[in-house]
Symmetry: C2
Subunit: 261 residues, 2 copies
C-alpha cells in the first residue's frame, strides 16, 4: 500500500498527465487512463493498450471484483495518493498505467470495405475523444491523425473515448500523402461547409476514408496534396456550422449506414 505522496509512482503518473505530459508519454511509451470503464477494458480486451500497472484504492478494487486480477500488477494506494495521481476532481479509485500501442501504420490493411477516419490538425481533446468513441460504435476500421493534431493519449482525450481506445486502432502523426500512397485508389471524402455534394448522395463501392479538418479553419483540399471529393452535411436550419465531433458523428453514421445497406 502506497501512502506517501512523495512516492516515485505518484511522480511518474503526474508527469504523464501534467503540462509536459505529451513529451513524457512519447518518451516513456506510456499513458494514463482513469476510471472503472478504462480499467475494465484494459483488463478484458484482447486488443488495445496493454496494462502495465493498475493503481487502485480499496474502494476502486471493489468495483471490479468480478474480474480476474491474477496476472496483473496491482499497486494499492490510499485515497489521497490516488487523488494526487488524478486529472479529475472525483477519480473512481482506479488508474491504469498503460503502454501506448506500437502498431505500425505501414501494417494497416484495407479489407475492400474498410472505412478510415483522418483527423487533420484537430485540437480539442473532447472532440477527438468523442470522434474516436463514435468511430468505434460505427465500426470504423482505424482513426488516423495528422502531424500537429491533439495527442490521442492525453487525459482528456482518453476520458472522452469512454474505453473505445481498446476497440479501435489509432495511428498518430501520419501525413495524408502517406495515407494516399498506402491506400492507392481509396475513395477520399473531405467534409467541407463549402461543398455542393451531400453526404447522403455519395456511394461507396469499396474502401473509403473520411477527412475532418481543424475546428476553426477546417482543411483546404489543396493542402492535402491529393485529389479528394468534398462533401457537405445538408442543413435545413440557420447555424453556419456544426461542432466538429457532431459533424463527424453524422458523417460516420451515414457512411456506416451506406456500407451496411
Amino acid at each position: 500500500m502506497i501512502e506517501s505522496l512523495h512516492s516515485p509512482h505518484v511522480a511518474r503518473v503526474k508527469a504523464l498527465i501534467g503540462s509536459k505530459g505529451a513529451r513524457e508519454r512519447r518518451e516513456q511509451g506510456l499513458f494514463v487512463a482513469e476510471g472503472v470503464q478504462c480499467a475494465r477494458e484494459a483488463l478484458t480486451s484482447e486488443s488495445g493498450p496493454q496494462l502495465k500497472i493498475l493503481y487502485a484504492t480499496e474502494n476502486g478494487l471493489s468495483k471490479i471484483s468480478e474480474l480476474d486480477l491474477d496476472s496483473v500488477e496491482i499497486v494499492e494506494v490510499t485515497d489521497a495518493v490516488l487523488k494526487a495521481m488524478s486529472d479529475t476532481v472525483s477519480p473512481q479509485g482506479l488508474i491504469s498505467l498503460c503502454y501506448k500501442p506500437e502498431a505500425k501504420f505501414a501494417d494497416l490493411k484495407a479489407t475492400g470495405s474498410s472505412t478510415f477516419i483522418y483527423l487533420h490538425e484537430i485540437q480539442d481533446p473532447g472532440n477527438a475523444g468523442t470522434i474516436l468513441r463514435t468511430a468505434d460504435a460505427m465500426g470504423i476500421s482505424a482513426v488516423i491523425t495528422s502531424p500537429d493534431s491533439v495527442d490521442m493519449y492525453s487525459p482528456k482525450v482518453v476520458r472522452a473515448t469512454a474505453g473505445s481506445l481498446w476497440n479501435i486502432s489509432v495511428f498518430e502523426g501520419v501525413t495524408f500523402d502517406r495515407v494516399d500512397k498506402q491506400f492507392t485508389g481509396i475513395q477520399k471524402f473531405l467534409l467541407s461547409s463549402h461543398a455542393y455534394t451531400s453526404i447522403l448522395d455519395i456511394s461507396i463501392p469499396g474502401d473509403c476514408i473520411a477527412i475532418f479538418g481543424n475546428e476553426a479553419r477546417g482543411v483546404d483540399a489543396s493542402a492535402l496534396g491529393v485529389s479528394v471529393t468534398e462533401v457537405t452535411i445538408p442543413m435545413a436550419g440557420r447555424a453556419e456550422s456544426l461542432n466538429l465531433s457532431a459533424a463527424a458523428s453524422i458523417v460516420m453514421f451515414t457512411l456506416s449506414s451506406k456500407v451496411a445497406g
Copy 2:
C-alpha cells in the same frame, strides 16, 4: 472607460457567471455571452436574447467595426476589467450582457411539420450547447428541457452553442406531461440503447418530438408518464454507447433528412 476592478459592472457580470450564477440569472433575468460570435448575433439577429449592455475593449470593438452600434449601450473597459468579467482564459474583448428570453411555452405552436427536441435531466453543459447548435443547423423548431436539467444560459452552454441561442427557441424546466398535453397526438421518439426500432426505419407524417435522457442513466420511458416510441441508432461497431451530443446530432440529422425527403 471602466478601469477599476471594483466597478459594480464587474461584480454584476461575475455574479452571473459564478458558482451561484444559476440563481443570479434566474432572479435578474440576465445572462452573459462572451466573444465575437455572440456579440455579432446579439447585434444583428431579429430574434433571440436582447442585448442590455455590450462590454468591450478597444480591440474587441475593432472586431465588430462593420456593425451599426448606434442603438446599443456600449461600456468600454480595459483588458484587465474584461478579463476579470470573463469565464475563459482568452476572452475576445467582447462580453454581451443579455436579457433571458421570456417566451412562454404555452405560446409555442406546432406547424404540422415541426420537430422538437426534449432534454430530460441532461447535465453536461458541453452536450447541451452542442445539441442546441446542431438543433439550429437541422432546422429544429425548439429545444425544451425538463426540470433538473443544466441551465441553458450558463457560460459553458452559451459558449458551446456558438451563437445558436439567437436562432432557436429554448424553453426550460417544462415537464413532459405538459409537452404532451400541449401537443396532443404528436409523435414521440425516445432514444434508447435498448430499443429495437432503428431511427432509419421510422416515418414522420407530421409533428414529432425527439427525447434524450440523462448522460449516465438515460430516461426510462415509464418515467415520462406517456406512451412513446423507443428508437435506437444502429451501430455496426463495438462501443456500447455514444456521447449524448453525438447521438442527438445523428438523430436530429436523420429526422431532418426524413422531413426534407
